[in-house]
Symmetry: C4
Subunit: 324 residues, 4 copies
């Protein structure tokens, strides 16, 4: 890690400074960190407000407070959006503002302000507006680096998830057809058609089991029991996929770090600069310090084992322990 100077660095331009404050390229700086926390708090309060507004007694009493808070929040979010748009070219690779505008995080930010802005001009349904304000919650994704790994798992295992969903659909149609055949005369209200029977099938195959609708005929119960057992297999699929996907991610990240250690060690030692670089990569990969130490120890052990080998041509030890 480079030495961190506690005071804010001097920036060449105002835009660079605002970029430094808003996008936090320097993760250790105290000021931007506090700004980030304030924004997180504001988003949380916004969502809480929308949730509480739906409680009639609370809304009746605090009504005007909610309105003022919404107005202030909207201003802050608009300002934030405009500033982020302005400073976008400061990012690494100097992307154009249009590129930033199309990025997922920018779209989320836009969705957080657009419906409320539209409302000023077009009278849309207030209920829909509330739902859209709920989307501000998505703004929090920016601040959760730990989400990255889970998202990567979902992305990479998308194929497996879709296959699992396909199997679920197949089982769902099979289960509701069977239940419809068995129960349609005994319970015409709940199993009168296959779409109706699907409510029971979904609750059963996912092991949720509300119990508001259950088979009552013997045939229905026997069939239901089989479906229930299959249900634990269905519910197991995503767990298995996520577990193996996370394993894969961790494995790959570990291999990346291992290569870094091996490269750094090929001259027999890890110099200070190399250690700093590896530390940065470790953080970026989200590998815990303890895991990193374990990888380093393994690479060390291998390298040192090699050091004891001697050249068959001249008999000298293979890797020179740093004479330089």
């Amino acid at each position: 890690m480079t030495n961190y100077a506690p005071q804010a660095p001097t920036h060449k331009t105002k835009r660079a400074k605002i970029y430094w404050w808003l996008e936090r390229p320097d993760r250790e700086a105290a000021g931007p960190k506090r700004l980030e926390q304030a924004l997180i708090l504001l988003i949380t309060l916004n969502v809480t407000a929308v949730v509480l507004e739906t409680v009639d007694t609370i809304y009746a009493q605090w009504h005007s407070v909610f309105s003022i808070f919404e107005a202030i929040s909207l201003c802050v979010f608009i300002l934030e959006y405009l500033l982020r748009l302005w400073v976008a070219p400061e990012a690494e690779g100097a992307p154009s503002r249009w590129q930033w505008f199309r990025s997922p995080l920018a779209i989320i930010d836009l969705m957080a302000i657009l419906p409320a802005l539209l409302y000023l001009f077009v009278p849309i349904d207030l209920r829909m507006l509330r739902t859209f304000r709920m989307l501000r919650l998505l703004k929090l994704t920016r601040y959760s680096p730990a989400l990255g790994m889970l998202m990567a798992v979902f992305e990479e295992e998308a194929g497996a998830f879709f296959a699992g969903l396909f199997i679920l659909m197949l089982m769902l149609i099979f289960a509701s057809s069977g239940a419809w055949l068995a129960e349609r005369e005994a319970q015409p209200d709940a199993f009168g058609s296959i779409p109706q029977a699907m409510w029971w099938a979904v609750a059963t195959l996912t092991t949720v089991g509300y119990g508001d609708v259950t088979p009552i005929t013997v045939a229905g119960k026997v069939f239901g029991a089989v479906i229930t057992v299959i249900g634990i297999g269905m519910a197991a699929l995503p767990a298995g996929i996520i577990a193996s996907g996370l394993n894969e991610q961790i494995h790959r990240r570990r291999a990346s770090l291992e290569r870094q250690f091996r490269n750094a060690l090929n001259d027999g030692r890890i110099c200070e600069k190399e250690a700093t670089d590896i530390e940065a990569i470790r953080k970026q990969l989200g590998i815990s310090r303890r895991t990193a130490e374990n990888i380093r120890d393994t690479v060390y052990a291998e390298t040192f084992a090699k050091m004891e080998e001697t050249c068959p041509h001249c008999g000298e030890p293979w890797v020179q322990t740093r004479a330089d």
Copy 2:
């Protein structure tokens, strides 16, 4: 990948051409892709139709539309079946039509048309017919390559799944016997015999928990609580088996690709033809591009580390690659 010519290639025979359209040996060709999508849509519409027909109000009104749609679908599926049968020998290894006829996909295709055909000659129960038409859903398996990995897991871990099912059966009989002993006097309707008590036992051991039947005596509740705790273990078994099975599959596929990279790299570099071959194998194994890159990097790092090794004293290479 070989360069793909946008226009359809010229085929020697008509049969070869139809094979090229129906079985899509060339995954990149645009025409066959659109045909495939049309077939997928038709299957989906078919299943949707069967589901909706069971809703009395819809059936009463659209009745004739459903009949016409079914007639058209049946013709398409029969034509598809006959064409696939005809072009079967075009496949790699030139299988006989009889071999294709016995293949799982062909049997599924036959099941999709046979009951409806039979109905023309023998008056079978319409309700059963509908259920059989539902089986057309299985035709979709042909188009989901991602299902392959999950199916491989189920196949390879079949032993573990059966052992799990055996444990479940054991626990089921144990749980229903205990509940019957404890509750048979308090609730003769729900726990009057062991088979009756099984309905509760299934719902509990699979953690579905409908709640339509629950123990009410103290002994029944204590016993039920123990069974409930065991239930989370039961529900965990398939998750564990799937997770470890998927891991195994991924591990094996990765090892396969690693060997390919190592072979390709043993002359110090990967030529264009080797890269194309490996890419094809990667796709066939269903390994993500990012994972493949990671494997390649690891193999590169190892190989180059070995190649660069020369004795620091006499300058001779550490490992001599065979002179020829």
Copy 3:
């Protein structure tokens, strides 16, 4: 695999012959296989009979058939037990009959006959007798080799399972105390004491969720929601432990087989005898043929890579491809 002679081998003694029939040391022999299947069928029918006897209408009608079937079954099981006791010393290592008598499988066999035998002399409760006859189900464990791996996982991970159970107990007492505090006045019947509240806590923490008892106060619902979320963690523990335990088992077995391949290959090729031995070990370890092939390919690739290395002293290739 040694060549299997289809006719039964000639045994020196009658005892050896019966051992060969009952304990199936030769897994391929057809006669003993059919005997085993007959025994499995008899056990299954026995348990089915006990289950059906508890249905009053069936018992009233078939009453005498059940009695005769039980008498025959008992005779067969007693005969089986005595024969197994007699031939016990034929097993590998020539164990004493006393050693066999104390083995888990022998105890299960004894439990399957003892209660019914006792009943002939002492008039014990018929209901208890039925439950003991249910234990005959355990006799099936002898015939399920696939259970071995799961059992090994449970055995090795026993520590983790107990730690998980301890956490569950802790959470259970915590959850029921909290629910008791919140709901005891609103629902004195369901939450009047901590032991009573445990019924709700068990159903919630295991995600079974019967719904026969649910919190109704606001405090109870808020607390219940938190407990419910913790519940998915609780239910996840055994899944995680089983998944990682199975992984560990598979990893270890694979490493074992890999060592076998390496040893066999250290003279550059796998001779027929070595292949037979490895095949036997593969079956014993319960590794699938495809996994074994993958391991073999990996070991081959490594060994052949080595073959290309040349001796730095004389320049000759390292491993001689079998000139012998």
Copy 4:
């Protein structure tokens, strides 16, 4: 393992002796083991007593027994606390009493006695007191070494768990908003506001599914079905994280032990002292004996394979081990 002398060792000071009894540095000594078991029994009885006291009928009858038992327990726990405080400096590294006082285990011990002590002076609510006495359960964590691994998993994977919790919160707010929109008119009691609808959303997303509140409109059921399917994904997240976290832990511990074996073997054999050291490390890492043997065999096989290599042409060893 060092030879264990069955009689208690002679200690230099009284404090050292009490430390030896209370903190069990020598895991094999019989006396301290029995003392530990007595303390575990006392804690268990204490918690059982608090649980039973809440049953009115039991409390009315045994009232005075509970009081006496509480008084005795309190004295024992106070004595235990004071003794542990006194002997704290005997521990490895000779920590100060203040350091011990702030350790998690010491805080748990303090919480087990403080509320009851306070009650002697300040009349606090008896109900709260009971709840605090429940915390004595936490004293058991000292005695469960198997908890360590699970706790390490929770600690290391904290980031992933928080990301999972964040996703759950997001889904929760999304699910309850949707259900509120769909059901608020049909069921104003259960879905009248978003906070109210959350009770259904929690039960559904965690697959608990009480069934006390379920959607009844068509829109609500369709939306509910989608949420239910997402629920199995939510419930799968912690299972996946725990499985992969445990795998990671096991992998790391295994790598640690492997390094120990490799180091010990680099002179061609494992001497008695080395074996003892490795055994101690194995226990500390919580690796099963069978896994350790597997690791040892793998390391042996690798090392011996290397050692045996001599060039078949000139007879020189392939890898020279350093002459010194």
